[in-house]
Symmetry: C2
Subunit: 345 residues, 2 copies
């Protein structure tokens, strides 16, 4: 392979998928892409599964967090690192039980800041009752890493993992809350735009309080679930459409977007649907159950949840996402590409 | 906590242990330091365990690799990242079954180098029959990270995990091969010392071909096992002594050190016992079985393996490592402290 790594290769959009497939996934021997009986790297889901032999699955997810700035309204890199990996496991229908972290920090980094970050991470795990069972810690000389990178792994147990490729025609698409809050916050900070107090705030929060009761109550009706982080809602829906070959149609007017997020996105020239959420989940739900599920989610406290679209069988085209605009038109919602926002998570 | 992070905090020696205890371990609620019935962050072993309910344990380990240079005689950061986490699981007596990786790379990094690194990682997993089940990939803007950092997690299954605190008085200490090869190689390269062809070479290699047959053959006789990476043999033996309160006595003349490693270490002013190995294991073995175990290990092809010392009950002092020198004296082998070698692994 020739050339150089670009920011777009790490943006979580089209280029990331293409690179990782060429670089890694296609190179692993077919029988080593998963543990026998589990879901592995080839399903490109939030996490992977290892069957435990008693009907249950262990679900594992790994992520490295490079967010810049490391402190932001609504959280910090420690909270994000714990939350992000917890959510990857939760959206697979698993109960997170253990976390491991690996911190790489720059020489000269403030001990006080490190303490705040670690406290945030421990607080999230503590509130969730998740054990922190191990970790690693490295220091790189001054100037060789910008502040801090945290990698986390979360382990969970699922009796029936939610695998997104099971999304099917007829399914309704539900979003659990307003979109783009994390992405808009980080992007505004990176661009040096002042954020008025309370205007923008990351939505960074664990999804366990939503996902665990939901999969218990509706074990057969949740066909797909993913937290729309890098590349946002547009990325997840395109992945789902491509994986299943279906057409997903969403309605712009149904998508909950807070006014400041809309305003900042316009100012920054990005579609809020491409901006990362760190505390929302997209669900693909059995058609007949969708209204009940929506009501249930709202009753859990997620009052902004909405049914935003539906899955259709492919006809002429396969694997597309269409958006019915408020203006009455219809447009293709492309998978995000380009740089989007570097170091968003 | 006040002050700034120093290189010594990441060296894997005394300062690392003190910082991580104050910063992380002591802050986690007591009941969340492990999954119930497993070994967690407080045992400070190579990995952690999660009981599977059928007598078996899942063993997990996480590490971030920051080695500099990223290509070196005997390997590269990809081989090291796979090997290092595999070894952490193997020395706990577990059979590694799955690997996850997270790569953070600098914008502008050569695609060709990335390909070489990833190929090395995949090759190690492939040869070991370990599935690569998932991963993450991030890009940081030019100048915000020096080249590449890889974090890996390996999952293994053990019927009886080896937990180092079970080391007991009378046990013999065995090293599986010559020491300090990885550390001396990286240090010489960092110092800009030319390495003559073949003189120094990292010992980076998976320990599965040693550990798996060993624990099968001698399930009750291996009381402790650890790969002496950061801080080397001196670090591991001091950890063992401190964990168990015992006195460990080793004999300098028994320690296998290749001549170029000895020469470079002298030139660089370090004790080879503080230098990282990436393909060796230290074992604490039941006294009566030690000679048989040594023979068995040598027959597996580890011809430089040696019994280098013995564990004694503490008398006046507790938790010390003593070294009988070739000159006939006896000295305290201190836990390594200070910077040692930054970015050694």
């Amino acid at each position: 392979m020739k050339g150089k790594i670009l920011l777009s290769h790490g943006a979580g959009g089209k280029e990331t998928g293409e690179l990782l497939n060429a670089l890694i996934v296609s190179r692993i021997w077919e029988n080593l892409k998963r543990v026998e009986g589990g879901y592995g790297i080839d399903v490109l889901d939030d996490g992977a599964t290892i069957p435990l032999g008693d009907g249950r699955h262990m679900v594992l997810s790994i992520d490295s967090f490079t967010v810049n700035p490391i402190f932001f309204p609504g959280g910090d890199i420690g909270k994000l690192a714990a939350t992000g990996s917890i959510n990857d496991v939760a959206v697979m229908g698993a109960k997170p039980i253990a976390l491991m972290d690996s911190i790489v920090v720059e020489e000269g980094f403030s001990m006080e800041d490190l303490e705040k970050i670690v406290k945030s991470m421990i607080a999230v795990a503590g509130e969730e009752g998740i054990a922190i069972i191990g970790g690693d810690f490295k220091v790189m000389p001054k100037g060789q890493i910008d502040k801090i990178v945290i990698s986390t792994v979360v382990v969970g147990i699922a009796s029936k993992p939610i695998i997104d490729k099971h999304l099917k025609p007829g399914d309704k698409i539900i979003i659990s809350g307003t979109v783009g809050e994390h992405g808009a916050t980080i992007m505004a900070l990176q661009q040096g735009l002042g954020i008025e107090a309370g205007e923008l705030r990351s939505d960074c929060q664990p999804l366990t309080k939503l996902m665990l009761p939901l999969v218990e109550k509706y074990p057969d009706d949740i066909h797909a679930a993913q937290d729309p982080t890098r590349g946002g809602v547009a990325q997840v829906l395109n992945e789902w459409a491509q994986k299943t070959g279906n057409i997903i149609v969403i309605e712009e007017e149904k998508i909950p977007i807070r006014e400041p997020v809309r305003a900042y996105s316009e100012m920054l020239g990005v579609d809020p649907l491409s901006l990362a959420c760190e505390g929302r989940v997209l669900l693909g739900v059995e058609r007949e159950a969708a209204e009940k599920v929506l009501k249930y989610i709202r009753n859990l406290g997620y009052v902004d949840a909405e049914i935003i679209g539906e899955v259709h069988e492919p006809k002429k085209h396969r694997g597309l996402v269409l958006e019915k605009t408020i203006a009455g038109g219809i447009k293709v919602l492309e998978p995000p590409s380009g740089e989007i926002v570097p170091r968003i998570c």
